[in-house]
């Protein structure tokens, strides 16, 4: 291993600009003659727009234009990228998602008017002068009420607010498995609604060049090419070659910056109409009411076990909140990213899953770090722990007994996925050792002396990422392929530019990808630049989400590098007058086997551009290659998270005192970066379990619309983590990599809640929902003390 190659904890190349305040985020960009946009949003969750008087706003100081839904009604709706069919094969209900509200508003924050002015303050002032005559309609927030059929309708053309009623598996067949069961363990759980809260608020700048007819959109996106495609082809119908989308430095995404948002379309569409560039930057309050939210599932599940504790069958019934409109990937989250993972790490032979996706008068809900897999993992691991407690089994024993054994791979689950590799005992063993499981009883006894209730909770999980094989997702309704592209440009002096369709918004691609190049070509890291985030520079790309950058984007780079070395060998063979088959490439040197002839990589690079004696019918000048990589399968990271908590029974405060994560993310390219990703995921998982909850009141008003109300994890809420990796290689990619971006957020929440329940069990508490706030824990303890009083 070289000190800059695969496996080295190389310090990040991108850090210098971020540390010195010289990052280039969208809001840092100012275009010549730029104007500013403010978006007037609905203050009501559900209302008919009876009138909009924009005259005073148009006449306000500095105002250049005011647009409403009447202006944008001819545009396409914001598209959904994944079609899901109902049980009977009919397509899902897909109501229009207008750029600006048309006739009705359907959630607090729904955009009603776009005001463009010389300054942001002027645009905001003018928006106050818009007379918005809204006739308030009853709103529906609760999913049970929404599908009852008698209440408010979010969309007239979606009866009972049903988007789809979908299933996976044969319910009758799984019922059969339940007939032989010695035990059935059931659970009702809620996966709490979350707000992703990337620290950089969304922003967009639209620009139009009249001379060339070219549009440019600068935007806070995880996938600029996807935005170009969705906005250009579906919403604005702009020619793709005349639309450039730039996603410069982006301050975190966590899924929320995958989607095509109305604001991007607004500023791009309005730019030629105003005749100047238009910049819009969300205020945090706007982020809360316009960024896609995450999770929000209500699930009932039954697990059948034999008398030894082996799982026989699983039935899962989920209601998933879509919000008021379908965000880009919303529909696939509860179905293909959730239900297909319900085997978990276990050999459960029969599984049935039903998902009802429901419209409500809330912000659209879509993928948030983990997307579907945290929901599946939370359900399974809560259920497995509950089964162990009810059956009097050890938490470790029940899991080991049901693990897919390491010699069973490739393993076909009953829910469509085929896992390629894994070793769940290895991650469990590693976690048990790191967490000092054996020492837990002593720690619990010691805590009891201090008046604290100490509990330990487990989660053994697998997830499906490296999204995704196009053929598979296409057959499941995806309206796009999920490959990745890469271009390797070797410059005449031997330095290299990599153009990748992946996008870094914190993940460190500029370092990890450079390590792949340094390792493959044997050149120093500083001779490699990673270019991303600009559709005019990068040929194509599907972007970064679903822990796909290395497993898909990295593989595309490897494939293009392979083409570069093949071509370079041809050049080397020609110059050294040898047969191509005799050329070897190692450590940055081309040698002719059996001779002492050699040429450095840089010499070949120069020769490629100075082709004085090339046989041009056989050898082209230049050294640049493009590759597209479409994965054969998903990748399947997995592991074990063990959480230890102490609960103060007098206050209900839960403290995470130990958080252990042993994850198998395949081959690790940069251990430092991988550990950072795992830490970040754990923080979001603990946040979901203990702190974060997005709350709407019955009228559809967002109660938790600021950082004073929505509890974000802070430095004093979290412990030091014990994180380690074990390694089984991905069997279907050249690097053996699986992905590490989401494992922390997927695996950890059930470990935290199981630990809280374990701590409270001795007091008679058997259930607690996320987030386990002090109030909730305190109430659960009081209710358990006085069961009658709690009713």
């Amino acid at each position: 291993m070289s000190d800059t190659g695969i496996g080295a904890s190389v310090k990040r190349k991108e850090d210098q600009r971020f540390l010195t305040g010289r990052g280039n985020y969208t809001d840092d960009i100012d275009r010549p003659n730029q104007t500013y946009a403010y978006i007037l949003r609905s203050p009501m969750a559900h209302a008919r727009i009876k009138g909009l008087n924009i005259d005073a706003a148009k006449a306000a100081p500095g105002v250049l234009a005011v647009f409403t839904g009447a202006d944008t009604a001819g545009l396409g709706g914001i598209p959904c990228g994944w079609g899901v069919n109902n049980k009977d094969g009919s397509p899902m209900n897909e109501p229009k998602h207008p750029v600006l509200a048309e006739g009705k508003v359907r959630h607090v924050g729904d955009p009603v008017a776009l005001v463009v002015a010389e300054t942001y303050a002027q645009a905001k002032d003018a928006a106050e002068a818009i007379e918005m005559d809204l006739e308030e309609l009853p709103a529906v927030v609760n999913m049970e009420k929404a599908i009852a059929g008698s209440g408010p309708q979010v969309h007239d053309d979606a009866p009972s607010n049903l988007c789809y009623d979908w299933e996976l598996g044969d319910e009758a067949e799984v019922d059969g498995a339940f007939k032989d069961a010695a035990h059935v363990v059931s659970i009702d759980i809620t996966n709490n609604r979350l707000v992703p809260n990337a620290m950089e608020p969304r922003a967009a700048i639209g620009e139009f060049d009249k001379a060339t007819g070219e549009y440019t959109l600068y935007t806070t996106s995880q996938n600029p090419h996807v935005i170009r495609l969705l906005m250009g082809a579906f919403v604005l119908q702009l020619p793709e070659h005349k639309l450039r989308v730039v996603a410069p430095d982006v301050g975190g995404g966590f899924g929320s910056k995958i989607y095509h948002y109305a604001e991007e379309a607004m500023v791009t569409w309005a730019a030629p109409r105003v005749g100047r560039p238009i910049k819009w930057v969300a205020e945090r309050a706007e982020s809360f009411i316009s960024d896609a939210h995450g999770r929000d599932h209500i699930t009932h599940a039954d697990l059948a076990l034999d008398k030894e504790g082996k799982f026989l069958g699983l039935k899962v019934y989920t209601k998933a909140n879509m919000g008021a409109y379908l965000s880009t990937f919303s529909t696939c989250v509860p179905t293909y990213l959730h239900s297909t993972l319900l085997a978990g790490v276990y050999t459960t032979p029969k599984i049935y899953s039903e998902v009802k996706a429901i419209f409500t008068n809330t912000v659209p809900v879509d993928a948030y770090r983990g997307a579907g897999r945290p929901e599946a993992t939370y359900l399974l691991e809560r259920l497995v722990s509950k089964a162990a407690w009810e059956l009097g089994m050890d938490q470790v024993e029940i899991r080991r007994k049901n693990f897919i054994p390491k010699d069973a791979f490739p393993y076909q689950t009953p829910v469509a996925l085929q896992y390629d590799s894994g070793d769940y005992d290895a991650t469990l063993d590693k976690a048990l050792e790191l967490a000092d499981y054996a020492g837990f009883p002593a720690r619990k006894a010691e805590a009891a002396k201090r008046g604290k209730l100490r509990g330990i909770g487990f989660s053994t999980y697998v997830e499906a990422c490296g999204i995704a094989p196009s053929a598979v997702v296409g057959s499941l309704g995806a309206r796009a392929g999920l490959f990745e592209s890469a271009n390797v440009r070797v410059h005449p002096t031997g330095s290299v530019s990599i153009f990748t369709g992946s996008h870094s918004h914190g993940q460190g691609h500029e370092t990890t990808f450079a390590q792949l190049v340094s390792d493959t070509l044997g050149i120093p890291l500083e001779n490699v630049d990673i270019v991303h985030g600009d559709t005019n520079k990068v040929a194509f790309g599907m972007g970064t989400y679903g822990s796909r950058s290395l497993a898909v984007g990295g593989e595309a780079i490897m494939k293009a590098l392979g083409k570069v070395t093949d071509k370079a060998k041809k050049i080397a063979a020609h110059i050294m007058e040898a047969s191509e088959a005799d050329i070897e490439f190692k450590d940055g040197k081309f040698t002719v086997s059996g001779t002492d002839k050699e040429m450095a990589f840089g010499e070949i690079a120069l020769a490629a551009y100075v082709p004085h004696n090339f046989p041009h019918d056989q050898l082209e000048p230049g050294l640049e290659e493009q590759a597209f990589y479409d994965p054969m399968n998903f990748t399947f990271p997995g592991g074990c998270h063990i959480c230890e908590v102490e609960v103060d029974p007098d206050t209900g405060v839960v403290e995470v005192v130990n958080m252990t994560a042993a994850d198998d993310v395949g081959r690790v390219i940069n251990p430092m970066i991988v550990e950072g990703q795992i830490h970040g995921g754990l923080a979001q998982g603990i946040g979901q379990a203990l702190l974060e909850q997005c709350i709407y009141d019955e009228d559809g008003q967002l109660v938790t619309g600021s950082y004073m109300d929505y509890c974000m994890p802070r430095a004093d809420n979290l412990p030091d983590f014990k994180a380690a990796t074990t390694e089984t290689l991905c069997a279907h990619n050249s690097l053996g990599v699986k992905g590490c971006g989401e494992v922390g957020a997927i695996g950890s929440p059930p470990s935290v809640i199981n630990a809280v329940i374990d701590a409270l069990r001795e007091r008679g508490v058997t259930d607690i929902s996320m987030p386990a706030t002090p109030q909730k824990v305190w109430q659960a303890l009081r209710a358990a003390e006085m069961p009658a009083a709690a009713e």
């Binding site: 540390l19 990337a198 945090r284 914190g506 950072g676 994890p713 430095a715 004093d716 979290l718």
Partner: protein
């Protein structure tokens, strides 16, 4: 509708350089730094003083530039992230952030750096608990904080040994 607000003349020193500017009374210090002076290293994360991304120092005291009006800053000395590194390169806290992988997307980083640098001027030998307490006013969504805490403790050590060397020579 609000009437356009009044304007005020201020003289302000930012990272050692003095500027005289005419500002709208309602202009925040954050917007002033970013838009009037082009110092875009200071980031705005929430506009309500809760996330700490916009943290700067005003006359040596930590302040949320999103909640501070530029018009109040007449005669004040401001330090932003751009003022941390000197002619000899990165400030020890910046170097430690890189060494310990204490940043990912970089958006909250300027606020953490300014906060940590100011804290380390006050307390040279903090405990982990103190560091977590100091930093609890800043939100980072990427890192889970552990590497940030490690970086601050490591920078404290570096700065102590630098001080000792200076004192010895």
């Amino acid at each position: 509708m609000n009437t356009p607000s009044k304007r005020t003349q201020i003289s302000i020193t930012v990272n050692g350089k003095t500027y005289s500017r005419d500002v709208e009374a309602r202009r925040t210090l954050a917007d002033f730094l970013r838009e009037d002076l082009g110092l875009t290293g200071t980031h705005i994360g929430c506009e309500h003083g809760a996330c700490g991304a916009c943290t700067v120092t005003v006359d040596g005291m930590l302040a949320r530039s999103c909640l501070t009006l530029a018009s109040q800053m007449d005669g004040c000395e401001i330090r932003t992230v751009e003022g941390l590194s000197g002619p000899n390169g990165l400030h020890p806290i910046q170097a430690a952030f890189k060494e310990h992988h204490a940043l990912q997307c970089g958006y909250c980083t300027p606020g953490f750096l300014v906060t940590a640098a100011a804290m380390l001027e006050e307390t040279q030998d903090p405990t982990e608990g103190q560091v977590r307490d100091w930093l609890s006013g800043n939100i980072c969504r990427c890192t889970g904080y552990q590497f940030i805490v490690d970086a601050v403790l490591s920078a404290a050590e570096t700065m102590r040994s630098e001080t000792e060397e200076r004192d010895a020579s």
